[in-house]
C-alpha cells in the first residue's frame, strides 16, 4: 500500500487532533503515530510575534522532496507536514509533523528527520516583532540545526 502523504503550506492554524486521526485511520495496522508541533515562543516576554516569510511554490516543492525522502528511508503508512506562514503570536503552532508506521522507531525517526530537514531546507524565514512594538531582527540560523540535519547523511 502506498503511504498517504499530506503536506501543505498555509496561513491558517492547523488541528493536531484532526491530522493524527486522519493518519491513525489509515488502517488497523498503524501501531505508532508520532507528532511534533513547533510553537511560537515569547522568548521570556521579549517577543510579541514572529512573522514567517516564505518562498511560495518552492516551499511546497522542497517540503515535497523532504517528504519523499522520508518515505524512502522509513516504512511509513503515512505522514503529514503542515508549515504555516504569516504572523504568529506566542503559543501559536508554526509547524506540524505527524508520522504513522507499524513500529515506533520508524515513526519517531521519520518525524525527527522531517523536522531537521524542514529547519535547514524549507524556504521560510522568521522575523521578530518585539513586545515593545518595534520590529526586531531576522532570526539567525543555528549551526546546531545544520548539524542536526547532517547526521541523517551518515545514518538512515
Amino acid at each position: 500500500m502506498q503511504p498517504r502523504l499530506i503536506f501543505r503550506v498555509q496561513a491558517e492554524p492547523f488541528d493536531l487532533a484532526q491530522e493524527v486521526k486522519a493518519l491513525a485511520a489509515i488502517g488497523d495496522d498503524v501501531g505508532a503515530v508520532a507528532s511534533f508541533t513547533g510553537y511560537c515562543r515569547s522568548e521570556g516576554g521579549r517577543l510579541a510575534a514572529l512573522e514567517l516569510e516564505h518562498y511560495p511554490g518552492m516551499a511546497e516543492e522542497e517540503i515535497g522532496r523532504v517528504v519523499q525522502d522520508a518515505v524512502t528511508r522509513w516504512p511509513l503508512s503515512g505522514l503529514t507536514v503542515i508549515h504555516r506562514f504569516g504572523m504568529m503570536r506566542p503559543g501559536d503552532g508554526i509547524v506540524l509533523v505527524v508520522t504513522a508506521s507499524s513500529h515506533r522507531t520508524a515513526a519517531f525517526e521519520a518525524a525527527e528527520f522531517l523536522m531537521d530537514y524542514l529547519k535547514t531546507r524549507a524556504p521560510f524565514w522568521k522575523k521578530e516583532h518585539r513586545a515593545d512594538g518595534s520590529i526586531g531582527e531576522w532570526v539567525e540560523a543555528k549551526d546546531f540545526d545544520d548539524k542536526a540535519a547532517e547526521r541523517w547523511q551518515t545514518l538512515g
Binding site: 522542497e62 509547524v95 531546507r121 524549507a122 524556504p123 521560510f124 524565514w125 522575523k127 531576522w138 540560523a141
Partner: protein
C-alpha cells in the same frame, strides 16, 4: 544578455528594497557566485545585501543550489539568508 527573474527574501529583500525584478544578465556571468558578485556592482543596496556572499543562499527554479551552480537556462533565481523555518 539573458533576461532572468530574480527573487529576494528576508533581509536580502529588505536590503535590496525589492521583492523581485527582471534583470538582463551578461553572458559572461556563468555561475550563481558570479551573478551575486555582478549584482554587487549594481548599487549600494546590492553591495549591502551581498556584503558577505558566503551567507547568502540561492535557488534556481525553486531548487537549492551551491555557489558554483551554472545559471544557464535558469528562469528564476532566488537569493535569501539561511532558512529559519520549522
Amino acid at each position: 544578455m539573458t533576461e532572468i527573474k530574480l527573487i529576494y527574501f528576508a533581509w536580502v529583500r529588505e536590503r535590496i528594497g525589492l521583492a523581485e525584478e527582471r534583470v538582463d544578465v551578461p553572458h559572461s556571468v556563468a555561475t550563481v557566485a558570479e551573478l551575486a558578485s555582478w549584482l554587487q556592482g549594481r548599487g549600494e543596496e546590492y553591495a549591502y545585501a551581498f556584503e558577505n556572499p558566503a551567507i547568502v543562499r540561492a535557488a534556481i527554479d525553486r531548487k537549492h543550489v551551491k555557489p558554483d551552480a551554472t545559471i544557464a537556462g535558469a528562469r528564476e533565481i532566488a537569493f535569501f539568508p539561511p532558512m529559519t523555518g520549522g
